[in-house]
């Protein structure tokens, strides 16, 4: 099963999205979150993203959705620091984070592969990677 990582500045946002998305499927889907700073403030950091990726990583791949600005930078940094053979299985997508997470969970629960899910999520892109 493909894993999903939610990166947000705010732990409550990430937890809320996980809750909302998990509702879409009776069987559990691997979802990890990386949100807030280590000392409980708003923000993101690459270390937490790395931990979240490892939590749900399998060779089937991982999809990462993020909220704003530095969430993308922390995520890119985390992915660059992964071993090369893992990097190619991890994709960062700029879908609207709530809709993207819900859609991803549905697709994951249908056992779609990484490429198929990526294609579906493309339609939900809000162009925040440029």
């Amino acid at each position: 099963m493909v894993g999903l990582v939610i990166v947000s500045h705010c732990i409550e946002i990430a937890q809320g999205i996980r809750k909302l998305a998990s509702q879409m499927t009776p069987e559990p889907v691997p979802i990890a979150i990386a949100a807030g700073t280590n000392d409980g403030r708003l923000g993101t950091n690459a270390e937490q993203v790395t931990r979240a990726i490892n939590e749900v990583y399998s060779s089937e791949g991982v999809i990462i959705l993020f909220d704003l600005g530095s969430a993308l930078m922390s995520t890119e940094l985390a992915v660059e620091c992964l071993p090369e053979e893992q990097q190619k299985n991890v994709v960062i997508l700029d879908a609207a984070i709530v809709e993207g997470a819900i859609t991803a969970v549905v697709e994951i629960s249908l056992n779609k592969n990484l490429k198929e899910i990526k294609d579906v999520l493309k339609d939900l892109s809000i162009n925040k990677m440029n």
Binding site: N45, A46, S74, L77, N130
Partner: protein, 213 residues
């Protein structure tokens, strides 16, 4: 003139002190147009850096800069974490294995740092970011070193170029970061990232001047 590993560590700690002294200023600037945590973030990051440097067991300046970068990445919550973190980690590569660095190394360090920040933040000059201070500072550094000017003059010109960049950010609207959501309303405020970059370059100038004397 060149800097030893110990002097480099001293310089990095001085940067930490400067950012601590200006914590409130940076946070207020960021509060006006961003998420209001730049001062806290930079201070947290560099406090962690200073602690790490207290018991670092290496003379390799590349290793020292890499440690700074990694510490910033893990301890700064905002965009400045990955941005400054990437800058230091990229800079580390060009001085790997060196126990002493000179002005020519500093040119390479700045070049890598600026490139790293561009890559990470995908910003260009004029977006109202730290690049508006750093890019003119790098260009000034490059040219002054080519012309073999005295080190104190060079570093003074570099920090002055950064300050001009800071003043320029006041006149433009943000195209990157949280301030970009404010659009035109961000005009009239200095970019906090540009200010912290200036403060770092100003500290480099002042510290080297003191070491030299």
């Amino acid at each position: 003139m060149s800097l030893t590993s110990n002097q480099t560590i001293l310089l990095l700690k001085e940067i930490g002190k400067t950012l601590e002294e200006h914590k409130t200023l940076l946070t207020e600037l960021d509060g006006a147009i961003g998420d209001g945590d730049h001062g806290i973030n930079m201070n947290k990051g560099f406090t962690a850096v200073t602690k790490k440097l207290d018991d670092i067991q290496t003379e390799d300046i590349g290793h020292i800069l890499k440690t700074v970068g990694m510490t910033l990445v893990s301890n700064v919550g905002g965009a400045s974490g990955p941005l400054y973190g990437t800058a230091f980690m990229k800079a580390a590569v060009v001085v790997a294995g060196k126990n002493e660095i000179d002005l020519h190394d500093f040119v390479k360090i700045m070049e890598e740092a600026v490139e790293g920040i561009k890559m990470r933040g995908k910003a260009v000059p004029g977006d109202k970011t730290m690049l508006d201070a750093l890019e003119p500072a790098y260009n000034t550094l490059y040219q002054a070193v080519e012309e073999n000017q005295p080190i104190e003059d060079i570093l003074k010109k570099v920090k002055d170029a950064a300050l001009q960049g800071v003043q320029y950010t006041e006149k433009i609207a943000a195209k990157k970061g949280r301030a970009s959501y404010l659009g035109e309303r961000s005009i009239g405020h200095q970019d906090p990232g540009a200010v912290s970059s200036y403060l770092i370059l100003d500290t480099i100038y002042k510290t080297i001047r003191n070491i030299k004397d």
